[in-house]
């Protein structure tokens, strides 16, 4: 992945060079536009949206505007409503996903290492990976109640299976040369496991965590929207039921920011753990 991105950005660089030599006078503006294209489109879309909102083309009953979202968002932050719900969501999410990560990695390592165990476990894994796990929410609510624990359980179930699958695949696809090396140095089974299987499958473990974190986030928001007494998902659902469209948008923006933060933190962890893959 990383290499792909690198080569792509190199290609971009080449195209950029060609452009800049052909049109020397536009060199600076041209490259500036290209480098910040993402940011520029975001600003452009926001500006158009805001204009449409201000001149009244957008009906404020169905849609909010950027400045309005910021204003309402600020009010809700000051009043503490937003923070309380956010903390509730984060609490559900971190506990559920933390458990999914620990248990998912352990189960994945063991089922990947002992092939028969992996085969025995495979049907459940396949069934669970193909299913939108949110469908289990009514059952889970029935079993553990509406509160905190039902969210933790659904977040766990949403995140754990992709983590298991990726970890398992990582261990299965270990370079047999490397396990041979460890055995030639007289490593015990546990030593081989710790010094070869774990670091060797780390790239897949991390990509499993990345998939799992996304699915866990979907699960926590969805669960809060259906059965909850708090959280950002609950906040969005409640506001929508009350036709408070500004608050709905504030909730959505918070979820978007949450998603971006979580994804970039995974990327950061990835770059720290997989130092050897970066030249």
């Amino acid at each position: 992945m990383k290499e792909e991105i690198n080569s792509r950005s190199q290609q971009d660089g080449l195209i950029l060079k060609k452009n800049s030599t052909s049109r020397k006078n536009q060199l600076n503006t041209g490259s500036f536009l290209l480098n910040n294209l993402g940011l520029i489109t975001v600003i452009l879309v926001l500006a158009i949206w805001e204009t449409l909102y201000q001149i009244g083309i957008i009906n404020p009953i169905f849609m909010s505007g950027p400045s309005q979202i910021v204003k309402v968002g600020y009010e809700l932050t000051v009043s503490g409503d937003l923070i309380d719900n956010l903390l509730f969501t984060l609490g559900n999410f971190s506990l559920g996903f933390g458990m999914a990560a620990v248990i998912g990695i352990l189960v994945g390592l063991v089922t990947g290492w002992y092939r028969p165990l992996g085969k025995a476990f495979d049907p459940f894994l396949t069934a669970m990976l193909g299913t939108p796990r949110i469908v289990l929410l009514p059952l889970i609510t029935l079993w553990v109640g509406v509160g905190f624990s039902s969210k933790v359980v659904i977040v766990f179930i949403a995140g754990v299976f992709p983590i298991i699958l990726n970890t398992m695949t990582g261990v299965k696809n270990l370079d047999p040369n490397l396990t041979r090396v460890s055995s030639s140095f007289g490593a015990s089974a546990i030593q081989t496991f710790i010094t070869v299987a774990l670091p060797g499958s780390l790239p897949q473990i991390v990509s499993g965590l990345r998939v799992g974190i996304g699915q866990s986030l979907v699960a926590v928001i969805a669960a809060e929207m259906f059965v909850s007494t708090g959280g950002i998902g609950y906040f969005v659902a409640q506001s929508s039921a009350n036709f408070n469209i500004d608050r709905v948008f504030v909730g959505i923006v918070v979820i978007v920011i949450l998603g971006i933060l979580i994804t970039s933190s995974v990327k950061w962890i990835e770059s720290r753990l997989l130092k050897h893959r970066v030249e």
Binding site: V181, F185, K275
Partner: protein, 266 residues
């Protein structure tokens, strides 16, 4: 009494290795393999692909069970893998997530050697293989030749009783390969190791070895043992000397003859 005083480093007696096939038959990879390797000797096993030379090395390393015969290391039967043998693999089999020095000290880490001692040994070996400046480089930051130096150093780190090298320079380009051969001889002199080196390159075998074991395929067995009486140290130019070329031709003819015989039989 004499037997007690002259225990060979490695002794192979009538060793056969067979693989079971799925249909119940067996395939004979190596048969009737007899060889003695003495302390400090450099032995090359050479032969065409499929002659069982790597399988034999695998048996000495302990990956491969033998079906018949006996294999002794310092007079003790070989049972499984162990840190008394240092193996250098064909492929660059370094751990990509470990730096050069951490790769080298891997065996010591498994043995529970304290960290300070490991570091000291690792640095000493980096110096021996000429990679002092690359201590903290990851394998993907090293060239193919450098990777194989680390590979050799990793096997040396555990101070094995016997070094086993399986076509270690096979993937390198011609120049790097020649240079690595020279380096390996230097390291061998410096460490006074006993080495068994498997290759399909006849010139490489003649250049490195005290003794070249020539193997033939189907069944994989020794066809002749050729003692190489070239002076040491051997500069690379020796490869162009008449004596060297004579050895090379002699071994080449042995292998070709066997191939011809094989053809006649079919």
């Amino acid at each position: 009494m004499e037997i007690l005083t002259t225990i060979a480093k490695l002794q192979s007696e009538n060793v056969s290795i067979t693989y079971p096939l799925k249909n119940g038959d067996e395939i004979i990879a190596v048969t009737d393999f007899n060889m003695t390797v003495n302390e400090g000797e450099f032995v090359c096993i050479v032969g065409p692909s499929g002659c069982g030379k790597s399988t034999m090395l695998g048996a000495i390393a302990g990956f491969q069970n033998i079906s018949e015969g006996n294999l002794y290391l310092n007079g003790n039967p070989i049972k499984g893998t162990g840190r008394d043998r240092g193996v250098v693999f064909q492929q660059a089999s370094l751990f990509p997530w470990r730096t050069a020095i951490d790769n080298i000290t891997y065996g010591l880490e498994l043995a529970g050697t304290p960290k300070q001692e490991r570091l000291a040994k690792g640095r000493e070996l980096l110096k021996l293989v000429g990679l002092e400046a690359f201590e903290n480089h990851y394998p993907n930051q090293l060239s193919g030749g450098m990777q194989q130096r680390v590979n050799v150093a990793r096997a040396l780190a555990i101070e094995p009783s016997l070094m086993l090298l399986d076509e270690p320079f096979g993937a390198l380009d011609a120049q790097t390969r020649e240079f690595m051969q020279l380096e390996l001889l230097r390291i061998w002199r410096a460490t006074k190791q006993t080495i068994i080196f498997v290759t399909h390159d006849i010139a490489e075998a003649v250049y490195l070895a005290d003794q070249v074991i020539v193997m033939t395929a189907r069944p994989g067995t020794i066809c002749e043992k050729v003692k190489i009486d070239l002076t040491r140290p051997r500069p690379l130019e020796i490869k162009r000397s008449p004596e060297f070329m004579e050895y090379e031709k002699y071994i080449w003819d042995l292998i070709v003859q066997e191939k011809e015989l094989e053809k006649d039989m079919v």
